[in-house]
């Protein structure tokens, strides 16, 4: 189903639709088949205008078995079409899904929707009767039959999928190309012939789309590419030390592919080794990165402190998932913000940045790396499972348009008798200089112990306080280099300001548009430090409503940072994105 969904999405993207996807799958690789907890779903939202979210409710639900119907029927619009594989709705299938009656549609109260029960398994077997393929392989092709039907319903040409099948199977399994094409085609024709499809849709390409080259991209892929871009721009090789963890692993996998751009990836023995090898690589002069999710970030805490203390550049990517502990590994949440902001011993601040859409992950990663390298600090980049796995069309940028990245390298040679002082700071930014090992005369020691500006160990009380303050002030002054907060919707002052951060951007934007012109909206990409005009923007509003997928971590940060304002909050902690409709309700309540 994940493949069928992503093929439909890619095809729609190439066709020119705006779209957003949301894969939602169980944590188990082969979850118990036919059970409600084992349902793997893929949500695609396509449109002719800006699509900001995977959508709340659907026009077409494809359910390959009773369990899939049961877990998703509640998301059907009153006008929705429900397409099911009738072969899967046998006694056993119904029982596994826990249906009490014989009619699943009435039991779920969706009997008034347009229901198409197609014997998809049988039809696929029939279609491939003479293919010579074994029974198991034949049954695997039923998703293609379904995709063919969906293509008919949404008036999509099949050429893109033909090309995909040719690419995918040409090397290892050329014998599978024609059977899959045939099943796809038969599914399309079946849908056209049965006369049971109440309406077909034509979703026109987005008009007045900015000219350029477009592609579909997931958030995890975009993070990887953004880091590669920063590596190229800074001239520093990319090093990624990581340990596999859901839902962040795809970043490591993606970087492992791109050795041609000089990227080195090290699959470490554990999360701690992931970050520590990255810290070592940073010390040795690479653009160093470690990628993880919440539980892994917990393990990295001590080493993060070391990177803060040694004042070394490092990008830490946390693709957040439901927590605490192992929590909901494949579900999305924004609940690692406190960990990102505070999760270290001692006074240990670091910049925290959040990506707001799958394609924005590229820019977020690029600027996280830029800040890390130019300010000699670890930077936390927060993504979310929803962004990492989700995809959207993206107009590919041109690298020449991106700003330079210039780390504060030591320059030239030291005069006779002059010693390099590793922790002397730039007067404006408070950033120290970077002497990469291998340069004559700049030999120096860094580490976790408190030191003086000269790099000498010190437990002097005043020196410690000075260094604590300077490290904090260095991070605070990053605010001078980041973009100001922009009002994305509504007036610059008024009754209600809706505030969001991270992956809720699309939902919030749609919600404020629906709620009306009087509602204003800002979205934070930069969390620590906050944009320098935040106070000014907030000052223009009677009420500030902070919406986030946790119990109120960002609102707590705002309360601590700008306590003069009165904050309202709207929270959801279900491992699922917001629904636009629930946000609209929450916003209207405050009007």
């Amino acid at each position: 189903m994940q493949l069928t969904g992503s093929l439909f999405a890619d095809m729609s993207a190439i066709y020119g639709n705006s779209l957003s996807t949301f894969p939602d799958f169980p944590a188990e690789i082969r979850a118990p088949h036919g059970t409600v907890s084992g349902v793997s779903g893929f949500q695609v939202h396509i449109g002719s205008e800006g699509v900001g979210t995977p959508g709340d409710f659907c026009d077409l639900l494809v359910a390959m078995n009773p369990a899939a119907l049961k877990s998703n029927a509640k998301w059907c619009k009153p006008t929705a079409m429900i397409l099911v594989d009738g072969d899967a709705f046998d006694e056993k299938g119904m029982e596994k899904a826990g249906f009490q009656t014989e009619n699943p549609f009435t039991e779920l109260r969706v009997e008034d929707r347009a229901i198409i029960v197609a014997p998809i398994s049988t039809l696929t077997q029939e279609s491939l009767k003479e293919s010579g393929l074994d029974a198991k392989t034949v049954l695997k092709c039923k998703n293609m039959f379904t995709l063919g039907m969906a293509c008919y319903i949404y008036s999509r040409p099949l050429e893109y999928i033909y090309q995909y099948l040719e690419r995918k199977f040409s090397k290892k399994h050329p014998e599978l190309i024609e059977p899959n094409k045939k099943v796809l085609n038969d599914g399309f024709n079946y849908a056209a012939n049965i006369q049971a499809i109440p309406n077909t849709y034509t979703v026109a390409p987005v008009k007045n789309k900015k000219p350029g080259t477009y592609r579909n991209i997931t958030g995890n892929q975009a993070v990887a590419w953004g880091l590669l871009a920063a590596s190229e721009k800074s001239g520093l090789p990319l090093f990624c030390g990581s340990y596999p963890i859901t839902p962040a692993t795809a970043i490591l996998e993606e970087l492992a592919i791109h050795k041609s751009l000089g990227a080195k990836t090290l699959q470490a023995e554990d999360e701690i080794a992931g970050i520590c090898t990255a810290i070592g690589a940073s010390y040795a002069g690479n653009l160093a990165v470690t990628t993880t999710s919440g539980p892994g970030l917990s393990l990295k805490s001590e080493a993060l402190g070391l990177a803060v203390m040694a004042e070394l550049p490092l990008v830490v990517v946390d693709v957040q998932r439901g927590g605490p502990s192992t929590g909901l590994p494949t579900k999305t949440e924004q609940s690692d913000l406190n960990q990102a902001l505070y999760g270290r011993n001692g006074e240990c601040p670091m910049p925290v940045i959040a990506a707001h859409s799958p394609s924005n992950c590229f820019d977020a990663a690029y600027f996280a790396a830029k800040i890390a390298l130019e300010h000699m600090t670890p930077v936390m980049l927060l993504s979310e499972g929803f962004l990492g796995n989700g995809s959207e069309p993206w107009r590919v940028p041109v690298m020449a348009d991106y700003p330079e990245i210039k780390p504060p390298f030591v320059n030239g040679v030291l005069t006779d008798g002059e010693k390099f002082h590793p922790f002397e700071r730039d007067a404006e930014t408070l950033v120290r200089r970077w002497a990469i090992p291998g340069q004559k005369g700049f030999e120096h020691r860094v580490g976790g112990l408190e030191k003086t500006h000269a790099g000498v160990l010190s437990t002097d009380p005043v020196n410690h306080e000075t260094m604590v303050r300077e490290r904090a002030e260095k991070v605070a002054r990053v605010a001078r280099r980041i973009p100001e907060l922009e009002i994305l919707h509504g007036p610059a002052s008024g009754k209600l300001l809706v505030v969001g951060w991270g992956g809720t951007y699309g939902h919030l934007l749609n919600a404020v548009e629906e709620a009306g012109d009087v509602v204003s909206f800002v979205h934070f990409d930069y969390i620590n430090p906050l944009p320098s005009n935040t106070e000014k923007v907030f000052g223009g509003f009677e009420k500030i409503l902070v919406c986030e997928l946790n119990s109120g971590q960002f609102v707590a940060w705002l309360r601590a940072s700008l306590p003069q304002f009165n904050y309202l909050q709207y929270n959801k902690v279900q491992g699922q994105p917001f629904l636009v409709s629930e946000l609209v309700d929450a916003i209207r309540k405050e009007l």
């Binding site: 030390g241 041609s260 751009l261 470490a268 520590c276 291998g438 030999e443």
Partner: protein, 339 residues
């Protein structure tokens, strides 16, 4: 040609180990070995990076006038790995203790050995946690009485040699802190070895575990209870060089040369470069009272190193790939044009 002396490697920092601590001697050996290494390999001083974890011995980078990184407990090996992979041109030395490398950092330690990354690890083994003032470590003898084992430990110690060889280590050497000349020799051999080199230094903690190695280090009977292995030399030991190691088909045996039908020609000749790990393991595991403790370079074999592997793979893929910059990457695969 690099013309460095031990003074070039001495930093201006005051050495703060306790008087009589074994670490002083290991530091001195390193400062004497590196000029020789530099001469042999034509390395300049700026090429050295000394990394450590946490513990008494981990203070060592501050006393070396080289690039240095004093990291966190147990993680030195991971930091060293990152440095070496990021820039294989650098030559990485690591100081770590028995608690540091074998307890909290045990995972990184075995994996660095498994990967055979080209770093030089000096493992200071004083069989005690010194900096936290005297708790037992993973190498403390069974039954050791310490602050956290007032009635004696009930756990078996690691033999670092078996651990290294069990992880298919390519270089393992062992020595006593006081063996200054031997230690210089070992450190030079480790530097010349391409791969992960582990040098176990049996050090004395005068405060919390004084005399831990006395049974073998005491000059009175050191030559009777230790054997210094050197390539091409027969495995002979004892005050009068009258004892030797033979292999009787099943295991190592100590024999008196000239007795029981054993002549000098029956005594084994050391070959650290022999790929067969069995004999090296047997040598590394020898202990009193039946056997002498083996000192010197026990194993030194060649194998592919991780850092070379990473570098070569990047080169290979670069040569083959059609994508050479990020703009090309952005336009690779499925894209479409909007006009």
């Amino acid at each position: 040609m690099a013309n460095l002396t031990f003074k070039d490697f001495k930093s201006d920092q005051e050495v703060r180990w306790c008087p009589g601590c074994g670490d002083h001697a290991v530091l001195a050996a390193l400062q004497r070995a590196l000029p020789k290494v530099s001469q042999a390999l034509n390395y300049e001083k700026e090429r050295y990076v000394v990394v450590s974890g946490i513990g008494c011995s981990s203070r060592l980078p501050y006393y070396m006038d080289t690039y240095g990184f004093h990291s966190i407990h147990g993680r030195a090996t991971a930091i060293s790995t990152g440095i070496k992979v990021a820039n294989p041109w650098l030559t990485v030395w690591q100081a770590c203790g028995d608690g540091d490398a074998l307890a909290i950092g045990g995972n990184h330690f075995i994996h660095a050995i498994r990967r055979n990354i080209d770093i030089n690890i000096i493992l200071f083994n004083n069989q005690i946690y010194g900096l936290t003032k005297g708790q037992y470590s993973p190498t403390s003898k069974f039954g050791a009485i310490t602050k956290t084992s007032p009635y004696g430990t009930v756990e078996h110690p690691f033999n670092p040699g078996s651990l290294v060889l069990g992880a298919k280590g390519t270089f393992f050497a062992r020595s006593l802190d006081v063996e200054l000349k031997l230690n210089e020799e070992i450190m030079t051999a480790a530097a010349l070895h391409d791969g992960c080199s582990v040098m176990e230094m049996l050090t004395n903690c005068v405060i919390f575990n004084d005399g831990a190695h006395k049974s073998i280090s005491d000059p009175e009977f050191r030559s009777d209870r230790t054997i210094v292995l050197r390539d091409g030399e027969r495995m002979v030991f004892g005050k009068n060089n009258d004892r030797g190691l033979v292999y009787d088909g099943k295991k190592l045996r100590v024999v008196h040369i000239g007795e029981g039908g054993y002549g000098l020609e029956d005594v084994l000749v050391h070959d650290s470069h022999n790929d067969n790990i069995g004999l090296h393991m047997a040598l590394a595991e020898m202990k009193g009272p039946d056997y002498p403790v083996a000192l010197g370079v026990i194993r030194d074999v060649r194998d592919i190193t991780y850092d070379d592997g990473v570098r070569d793979q990047v080169k290979e893929v670069m040569a083959k790939s059609k994508i050479h910059n990020v703009d090309e990457l952005l336009h690779s695969g499925s894209t479409w044009e909007v006009k």
